[in-house]
C-alpha cells in the first residue's frame, strides 16, 4: 500500500514537472517516458516469458502510421482507439502463428516481422495510394504528448504490477522457466502467451501512436527504424526484464547516456556506447536490479 502511494506520488510529481521545464528538458522527459513505456510494455510479455521479441518497432511503427493515415479523418481519441485495435489485431494474428516458435527462432521471426510490415506498407503506399510520406498536423503541444506518454508508461508498469499478482503473472513466469512443466501444471500455453503478447503489443502500438505527432512527417523508413527494437530490448535487459521496475531502471540512465554521448562526442559516440554496452553485459549479467541485490546480499553477509 505504501509502495503504491509512493508510486502515485511520483507519478503526480512527474506530471507536474513540465510546468517548470524548458522545451529541451521536456523533450528529454518525453524521450524517457517513451522508452520507459516501450521497455515496460515489452517486458510485460518478453521479460516474464524470456521470449526476446524484436517486433517492437513493427507495432510502434504501425501505431505511428495509423495516426498518420487517420489524423485528418477522425478525432484524436478515435485515432488512438483505432491504433490500439489495429495493434491488438495484428498481435493476435502474429501470436497465433508464431508463439510455438521458441528461442532464437522467435527472435529472428520477430525481427523479420518488423521488416515485412515495413515492406508491405511501403509497397501498399507506393502502388496503391501513390504516395509514401504522410503528414501529421495535430494540434498537440509537447506537453500534451508528454502527459499521454507518461500515462502510457504508468499503465504499462501498473498493468505489469497487477498481472504479477494474478494467475496470468504466475503462468507467465512458469512459462519463462519451463514450458513443459507449465503445461503439465495445467497452463494453457498458447492462450497465456497470446494474452500477454497482445497486451504488450497493444501498449507498444499506442506508444508509437502517441509519439508520432512530434515528427510531423512520417514515412516507413522513419517509423520502422529497427534501432527502436534493439534499444527497447537492451534497456529492459539492462535494468532486469523480469522485474517490475527493471525496464524503468534500465531505460532512464541509458537514454540519458545516449543523449550525453551524442551531445559531447558526436563523432565517436558509437564507440563509447558500444564499449559501455559490452561492459554492462560483463559486469551486470542479470540487470542492474539483480546486481544491486547481489551487492546487498554480499554486504548483508559481511554484516553478519
Amino acid at each position: 500500500m505504501i509502495r503504491l502511494a509512493i508510486a502515485l506520488l511520483g507519478l503526480v510529481a512527474l506530471a507536474v514537472v513540465p510546468l517548470f521545464a524548458s522545451e529541451y528538458e521536456l523533450g528529454l522527459l518525453i524521450g524517457m517516458a517513451t522508452y520507459v513505456a516501450l521497455a515496460s510494455a515489452w517486458a510485460l510479455f518478453s521479460g516474464q516469458t524470456n521470449y526476446i521479441s524484436l517486433a517492437t518497432v513493427a507495432f510502434y511503427g504501425t501505431g505511428a502510421y495509423t495516426v498518420a493515415v487517420l489524423n485528418e479523418s477522425l478525432p484524436y481519441p478515435a485515432v488512438l482507439l483505432c491504433a490500439a485495435l489495429i495493434g491488438a489485431g495484428m498481435a493476435l494474428l502474429v501470436g497465433l502463428s508464431t508463439l510455438r516458435l521458441s528461442g532464437i527462432y522467435f527472435v529472428i521471426f520477430t525481427f523479420g516481422l518488423a521488416e515485412l510490415v515495413r515492406q508491405l506498407i511501403t509497397w501498399y503506399e507506393v502502388s496503391i495510394t501513390g504516395t509514401l510520406g504522410r503528414y501529421i498536423f495535430l494540434d498537440l503541444t509537447a506537453r500534451d504528448i508528454y502527459w499521454q506518454m507518461l500515462a502510457l508508461a504508468a499503465v504499462a508498469i501498473g498493468l505489469t504490477a497487477w498481472i504479477n499478482r494474478t494467475r496470468l503473472g504466475l503462468a507467465l513466469r512458469a512459462i519463462g522457466d519451463d514450458e513443459v512443466v507449465a503445461a503439465h501444471s495445467g497452463i494453457h500455453l498458447a492462450r497465456t502467451k497470446l494474452i500477454a503478447f497482445t497486451l504488450s503489443a497493444t501498449l507498444i502500438t499506442l506508444v508509437g501512436a502517441v509519439a508520432s505527432p512530434r515528427w510531423v512527417y512520417v514515412e516507413p523508413l522513419i517509423v520502422f527504424n529497427p534501432t527502436v527494437s534493439f534499444l527497447t530490448v537492451i534497456m529492459a535487459l539492462l535494468g532486469g526484464a523480469n522485474r517490475l521496475w527493471g525496464p524503468l531502471v534500465g531505460a532512464i540512465p541509458l537514454f540519458l547516456l545516449f543523449e550525453w554521448l551524442s551531445v559531447n562526442f558526436p563523432d565517436t559516440y558509437p564507440i563509447f556506447l558500444g564499449l559501455l554496452f559490452i561492459a554492462v553485459v560483463f559486469v551486470l549479467p542479470n540487470g542492474v536490479l539483480a546486481g544491486l541485490d547481489d551487492l546487498r546480499a554480499r554486504f548483508g553477509r559481511r554484516g553478519k
Binding site: Y24, G27, I30, G133, A142, W215
Partner: protein, 404 residues
C-alpha cells in the same frame, strides 16, 4: 549585387536599430561570438547524404567566414562563429530533441537545417515556434508552396518532384523532336519518398510531352541487385533509361548497365549521378550520363567554390544540392549583415532580399528558390547543367550518349 532602393532603406533603418542594440552588447563583451547550431545525421541511413551534401558545406562556410574575421554585423563589426553540432542518429525523435536543445538550452543565434526532406519537415513546426528561419535546402517536395505558407519562416530551396520531371521531359521531348531518340522510355524508381515524388511527377509530364513509358517499375529501398530490372529495361525497346534512384542504386545500375553492355541513348539516374565519386563508379566512362541537378560549370564563382571545397573536404562537392547549400549559407551571412540576428527581421530579409551567391543572384519567390537546374549531364569530366535550356550557363545535351 543588385540592391533595390527599398531593401537598402530597410537595411539602413534596421542597421541603425541594430547598431544601437549591438552597442549595448559590445559594451558587455567585445569579442562575443555568433552561436550557430545544427543537428545532422552522422550515423544511420541519412549519414551518407548528410556527409556528402550538408556537413562539408557547413564546415567550409564556417571556415570561410571565420577566416575573414567572422560574420559581419550591420554596424560593420565582425563576430566569429561558434558551432554547436549534434548527431541526430538519423532519427526524427532525436532530431526534434536536438533542435529543442539548440533553441532552449544552448540558445544559439541561428540554426542550420538538417539533411533530408523528412528531417526538415519534422523540425519545421519547432523552428516556426521558436522563430528561427529555416532554409530547408535538401528537401525536395511538391508541397513546398503549402509548407512555405504554413511556416512563414521556412524556405524551400530545392524544388519539387514535378520540376525535375518536367525538366527531364523537356530534354527528352526535344531529342524526340530532333529525331535522335524514339519516344519510348524505360523508367524505374525507388519506393521511397524521393523516388515516388519524382515518378509521380514524371508519369503525367512524360505523357504530356508525348513520351511513352513502356517499362515502369518501382523497387524497394535497400535493393542491391539490379540485373533483372536492367535486363527488362534493355528488352523494352526504349531508347531512354530513366531511374529515380538513391545513390547506392544509381551506382549499382550504372555498373550493371556497363557490365551487361546496356547502352541506351539516354541514361538518366537520380541522386548520386551528380556526386563527384560518380566518375570513379562509372570507371571514367560517365560521359553523357544525365542526372538531377547540375551547375553552371563555366562560372568562375562555381569553379572557385569547387576548388575551395576540394581543398577543405578533400573531395569536390556534388553538382546538385551542395552549391545550393553553400549559397543558402551565403544568403544567411548577407542577411545577417543587412539586418542583424533578429529572427523576425532575418526572416523578412531572406524572403524579400536579393543575394549574391556562388550560383548567381538569388531572390526567393514565395519563400522558394525556383531558379534551379533540373537536369545535368556529364560532359568532358564535368557535370554541366542542360535544363532549363534558356537559363544562363545552360549547355546543349549530348544525345545519344556515347557507348560505355
Amino acid at each position: 549585387m543588385t540592391i533595390t532602393r527599398r531593401t537598402t532603406l530597410r537595411a539602413l533603418a534596421s542597421g541603425v536599430a541594430m547598431t544601437m542594440l549591438l552597442g549595448a552588447n559590445l559594451a558587455h563583451s567585445a569579442d562575443e561570438t555568433v552561436k550557430i547550431g545544427y543537428a545532422v545525421a552522422k550515423t544511420g541511413p541519412n549519414a551518407t547524404g548528410a556527409g556528402i551534401t550538408t556537413i562539408p558545406n557547413y564546415e567550409l562556410w564556417v571556415k570561410d567566414i571565420n577566416a575573414a574575421g567572422g560574420l559581419t554585423m550591420p554596424d560593420g563589426s565582425k563576430r566569429m562563429i561558434e558551432v554547436i553540432e549534434y548527431d541526430d542518429r538519423s532519427s526524427n525523435e532525436d532530431l526534434v530533441r536536438a533542435i529543442e536543445r539548440l533553441a532552449t538550452k544552448d540558445k544559439v543565434d541561428l540554426i542550420l537545417p538538417p539533411w533530408g526532406t523528412g528531417s526538415n519537415l519534422a523540425i519545421a513546426p519547432l523552428m516556426d515556434r521558436f522563430g528561427y528561419p529555416q532554409a530547408a535546402v535538401t528537401a525536395v517536395t511538391d508541397k513546398a508552396p503549402e509548407f512555405a505558407a504554413r511556416w512563414k519562416r521556412s524556405y524551400w530551396m530545392l524544388g519539387g518532384g514535378h520540376d525535375y520531371a518536367n525538366g527531364l521531359a523537356d530534354v527528352l521531348k526535344a531529342a524526340v523532336a530532333a529525331g535522335t531518340i524514339n519516344n519510348k522510355i524505360a523508367m524505374v524508381s525507388v519506393a521511397d519518398g524521393f523516388g515516388i515524388d519524382l515518378v509521380n511527377g514524371a508519369r503525367p509530364s512524360f505523357k504530356e510531352a508525348g513520351l511513352e513509358v513502356v517499362y515502369d517499375k518501382t523497387y524497394p529501398l535497400g535493393t542491391s541487385d539490379f540485373a533483372a530490372l536492367m535486363a527488362e529495361a534493355q528488352a523494352s525497346g526504349a531508347d531512354s533509361f530513366v531511374a529515380f534512384s538513391y545513390p547506392p542504386d544509381s551506382f549499382g545500375m550504372t555498373k550493371t548497365a556497363q557490365s551487361m553492355g546496356y547502352n541506351p541513348k539516354v541514361f538518366y539516374v537520380g541522386v548520386g549521378g551528380a556526386f563527384p565519386i560518380y566518375g570513379q563508379i562509372a570507371d571514367g566512362k560517365q560521359e553523357g550520363v544525365m542526372s538531377i541537378g547540375g551547375v553552371n560549370a563555366a562560372s568562375p564563382a562555381i569553379k572557385d567554390y569547387f576548388a575551395r571545397h576540394t581543398d577543405s573536404a578533400g573531395a569536390p562537392p556534388d553538382s546538385w544540392a551542395s552549391a545550393i547549400t553553400y549559397a543558402s549559407l551565403e544568403m544567411l551571412a548577407q542577411a545577417v549583415e543587412r539586418v542583424g540576428l533578429d529572427h523576425g527581421k532575418l526572416a523578412g530579409e531572406l524572403s524579400t532580399g536579393t543575394f549574391s551567391t556562388i550560383i548567381g543572384d538569388v531572390k526567393l519567390e514565395d519563400n522558394q528558390l525556383r531558379d534551379l537546374w533540373w537536369v545535368g549531364q556529364w560532359q568532358g569530366g564535368t557535370f554541366v547543367a542542360v535544363n532549363p535550356s534558356d537559363k544562363d550557363g545552360a549547355v546543349a545535351p549530348v544525345i545519344p550518349k556515347p557507348n560505355w
